[in-house]
Homo-oligomer: 239 residues x 2
């Protein structure tokens, strides 16, 4: 078992941002896939507890100041806490610093919106959670509806569970298709959803409208002001 | 957002066992699906840090002695740490106590082997990770190869990522198909694996043999003695 943990000889290095209000599954998909092949740093302001949007307390292994700077992958998960990170200059500055040297700059779900706010997706295509394309585009990034989008060394995954498809694609890129398939078999990723409602197209208009109305308060009261803040600071920097 | 956390008016209650060497994704699938509808207790010996088999530190919110005893769901995830739990009489006794009163007794991956060791699957059909059917059967449980098996109030999921399919099935059972579909849409669960190697049948004999050889040491050196211990104690109790 110890041979399958972070001491793997095939080890690549990952810095994964974690933050309050992050969605656990956004992070757990890639972390669990990569964890058998990589050394993964879970990074927030300082080492210690971070609470996800469904109430799980996860420990940041590293802070912004002690995270190793040379990594193969920078990865940012999404979640309801995304909007607070857009205002967090220390977090954005950490991402710019690590992202500048990383071989791959990646995200799951609304994590791409955080990358965009940090200026790391300028001139790249990217994907995000299906409900948030207008936000990604407001930040000047061309959004593409897909499970995984690879544009040069930017690899972004769609909403939440897309992180598993994304994680496999990244693994194939870094350690080869055979290692990715072996990991897929190990994690028995042969999905068989009991219902067919995993995208707006499949769920239909009524259900999509219902979910959008659940998300609407969060989008108008938190996302919109946060994006306006990013755009305002960007203009100030340019001027 | 606060309306979507553990204070949901639709709240059901879940006790989820977490333990050292647990597989993060086994737990994160159902936790993230249910977390918008339920109050979820993450339980180990006492409140505090538990390290998963890919090195993530998660906090147990409750210990065996302070976990609420009346829950709708008992759920046990799997992982490389499974075998140590089979020897842990305090954990098995906790599971028997909570499982006795739970509306549903459930598991993901090798979590069913822990339930079996606790005597909670006697006379039930169940599923587990594809590599561990002989172990489940050695403990006297009829194993069925499937993503999700429902046998009366026992609902078990297959390996790791099957926890998402399982979690949706359980959610439909508890709060209805519409709520399950809404959650599926929210989590964008419209899987599109980049490779087709998620089961022994799909991965083929060569790759399956390669993964089994990776798992073999763990199975022979840890799983086998642990199962023999369970069977020995069972005979002693009967005699």
């Amino acid at each position: 078992m110890s041979s399958m943990t972070t001491t793997s000889p095939h080890g690549f290095k990952v810095a994964m941002l974690i933050y309050p209000g992050m969605t656990l599954l956004d992070m757990a998909g890639p972390q669990n896939l990569w964890g058998f092949h990589a050394q993964i740093f879970l990074v927030w302001e300082k080492p210690g507890a971070v609470i996800t949007d469904t109430g799980v307390s996860i420990r940041a292994s590293h802070g912004f100041d002690d995270c190793p700077t040379e990594v193969d992958i920078l990865c940012v998960p999404g979640g309801f806490g995304t909007w607070d990170v857009l205002d967090n200059e220390a977090a954005l500055s950490f991402l710019r610093r690590i992202g500048g040297g990383a071989r791959y700059v990646t995200s799951v779900c609304t994590g791409s919106i955080i990358l965009a706010a940090a200026g790391l997706l300028e001139g790249y295509k990217a994907t995000t959670h299906w409900s948030t394309y207008p936000i990604l585009e407001a930040l000047g990034v061309e959004g593409v509806r897909a499970r995984v989008i690879t544009d040069r060394n930017r690899i972004t995954g769609g909403g939440v569970t897309a992180g598993i498809d994304f994680g496999l694609a990244v693994l194939a890129e870094l350690v080869g298709e055979d290692a990715a398939k072996t990991t897929q078999l190990m994690l028995e990723y042969d999905p068989a959803p009991p219902f067919d409602a995993g995208s707006p197209e499949r769920a239909g208009e009524e259900m999509t409208t219902a979910v959008m109305s659940l998300l609407q308060d969060d989008l108008s009261q938190k996302a919109l002001p946060a994006v306006q803040g990013v755009l305002r600071r960007r203009q100030t920097t340019i001027a």
